[in-house]
């Protein structure tokens, strides 16, 4: 299946695996020896007695972007949500196997899921801005992390620029985020996620609803040092491609 024809778009993480879910190599394999930041061993996820995901083995290396591509319902979101313990919110969900972040078991009893999510950020499938102003949406993460207020203006501008939303909203930062269009709202959610400077960013089909246009370059996030999303590519030809073309690795299911 070609990436462009995948019925469901991709999952983008900042990091790439050295092996994929089905054992295939992604087409854009880069540094095989990069250290694994995040990995899953024999991961199975259950919702009640239903086994949603079975024996997944994944490894994500530093400074890489990985896309997971597969049909609807194959478990991409489920796997992704295990990587920052977002599945803890679903009472019936439980996992078997091992998920590790820099070698530490994420599901260890002593691990605080809140601390996990501060280091492993997430953008959801549907845009879910807070019913607050655009400014407050971006600064909420830094605020609860204790970042001084004096830095907020700068954080808002840099992150909104990275998410290619700054030009559209710079004059109405105090307006409600609920007034944004679907694509704008999703870019705001990306800005909100990167405002806390997470080490890994999990993106659950973040662009499936975003209209590709020349100003929207979030579809081509570049891993820089620390794997930060970077929007230097403004080539409209590429902006319409699938997320698979932006990734270092692609996992097919």
């Amino acid at each position: 299946m070609a990436p462009d024809q995948a019925p469901v778009a991709s999952v983008m993480a900042r990091l790439a695996p050295t092996t994929d879910m089905s054992g295939n190599k992604g087409p854009l394999v880069s540094d095989e020896t990069a250290p694994a930041v995040l990995d899953a061993k024999d991961l199975s996820v259950y919702y009640g007695s239903f086994r949603a995901v079975r024996d997944v083995n994944l490894e994500f290396a530093e400074h890489e972007i990985t896309a997971m591509i597969g049909p609807s319902g194959c478990g991409k979101s489920t796997v992704l949500r295990c990587l920052n313990r977002m599945n803890d919110l679903i009472p019936s969900a439980r996992i078997e196997g091992l998920v590790r972040f820099r070698g530490h078991d994420l599901y260890d009893r002593q691990v605080d899921p809140v601390a996990v999510r501060r280091r492993i950020g997430m953008v959801f499938q549907k845009p879910n801005p807070f019913p607050k102003s655009i400014f407050e949406n971006v600064t909420y993460g830094p605020k609860i992390a204790g970042t001084p207020k004096g830095q907020f203006d700068e954080i808002v501008e840099t992150t909104l620029r990275k998410a290619a939303l700054w030009d559209e909203v710079k004059d109405r930062l105090q307006d409600s985020a609920l007034g944004l269009s679907g694509g704008q709202a999703q870019r705001l959610c990306i800005a909100r996620a990167i405002a806390t400077n997470p080490e890994v960013l999990l993106m659950d089909e973040p662009c499936s609803r975003a209209r590709p246009n020349r100003h929207w370059s979030g579809r081509r996030p570049h891993a820089r040092t620390q794997g930060r999303i970077h929007d230097r590519d403004r080539d409209p030809q590429h902006a319409t491609g699938s997320s698979g073309q932006r990734s270092h690795r692609i996992l097919y299911r």
Partner: protein
């Protein structure tokens, strides 16, 4: 077919629809349901306003400013207004934090289990228990057992009884509002590293606040009109002090009365001045009190909703 008749044909298609007989009947039925409810309300209000008008128009200040007297022309409802005000205040202070707190725990913190659904069902059952039963509960617990604290049949004991009465309703309506908060909003908070407390405080509660407020204030308005439990916990209409001012805390540990009690008492009097004129005037005042609470609920709700940006 020439151009002209094509246009006529198209127009005909636009004009001729299927007859919507059931829809028309349905509309008539629901409209009459609305009108019937309004009619009952109008008749009721018209009746009490015309009956009470003589008192309210001639001696309004005197009526709300004087205490209960044996003479219908001099009698007033001051103690009743004070009593109802204090009962509502105590009920709100006790029932709102307890009820909203319980709802937050049940919805946000407790892991769903057989125990929580058992508790949930029982709270719903408690909301259906007749108010007289709460009166008996208040009598045995707040008046007798805790008599040394409440002072027996006092506004304190009665307020606690009314708080117990509205508590299940407060919990249910608050829990419903909290349950209606979209899950993606919680996920958004957790996604940027918020703690459970931060998600609850910054996102869930502000979103649920309008619903919580409406439910709780409406339940308070209902409690303010209750007479049965107050009769059981010892509300009286005689030998009351009439010297109290609004913020006089002494009255909290004294004998007390309330608007519904005065109304029930007056409607049983043989004199027409009490039975018709004064009772109707008191009813109008109680309705105004409840109306005030409901208006506050609506105003607060719309303010919260505007803050929420909807």
């Amino acid at each position: 077919m020439d151009a002209r008749s094509t246009i006529d044909h198209d127009l005909g298609l636009l004009l001729k629809g299927r007859p919507d007989t059931k829809g028309t009947i349905f509309r008539a039925v629901i409209l009459s349901a609305l009108l019937f409810s309004l009619l009952i309300l109008t008749v009721l209000l018209y009746q009490v306003i015309t009956d009470g008008w003589a008192v309210l128009s001639t001696r309004f200040g005197d009526f709300i400013g004087s205490g209960l007297r044996s003479d219908a022309e001099d009698a007033g409802i001051k103690q009743g207004l004070l009593g109802t005000f204090w009962l509502a205040l105590i009920t709100a202070i006790v029932a709102f934090p307890l009820g909203i707190g319980a709802a937050i725990y049940l919805e946000e913190y407790a892991t769903p289990s057989r125990l929580t659904s058992f508790i949930d069902i029982n709270i719903r059952n408690l909301a259906g228990v007749p108010s007289v039963v709460y009166g008996i509960l208040g009598l045995s617990i707040f008046v007798r057992r805790a008599g040394s604290l409440t002072g027996g049949a006092t506004p304190l004991a009665a307020g606690l009884t009314l708080a117990a009465l509205v508590l299940p309703v407060v919990i249910i309506t608050s829990a419903e509002s909290i349950r209606s908060v979209p899950q993606p909003l919680r996920e958004a908070g957790y996604g940027v590293g918020a703690t459970k407390w931060e998600v609850t405080r910054h996102h869930v509660l502000p979103y649920a606040a309008p619903g919580i407020l409406t439910g709780t204030l409406l339940s308070l308005a209902r409690a303010a009109g209750e007479a049965a439990p107050l009769l059981l916990v010892g509300a009286v209409t005689g030998r009351l002090g009439s010297r109290y001012e609004l913020w006089d805390f002494d009255q909290l540990r004294q004998r007390f009365t309330a608007m519904p009690i005065i109304i029930t008492s007056w409607t049983k009097q043989p004199q027409e001045g009490f039975r018709v004129d004064n009772a109707a005037a008191a009813i109008v005042m109680l309705v105004l009190f409840v109306l005030l609470l409901n208006t506050a609920a609506i105003v607060l709700r719309s303010r919260f909703e505007r803050k929420r940006g909807m």
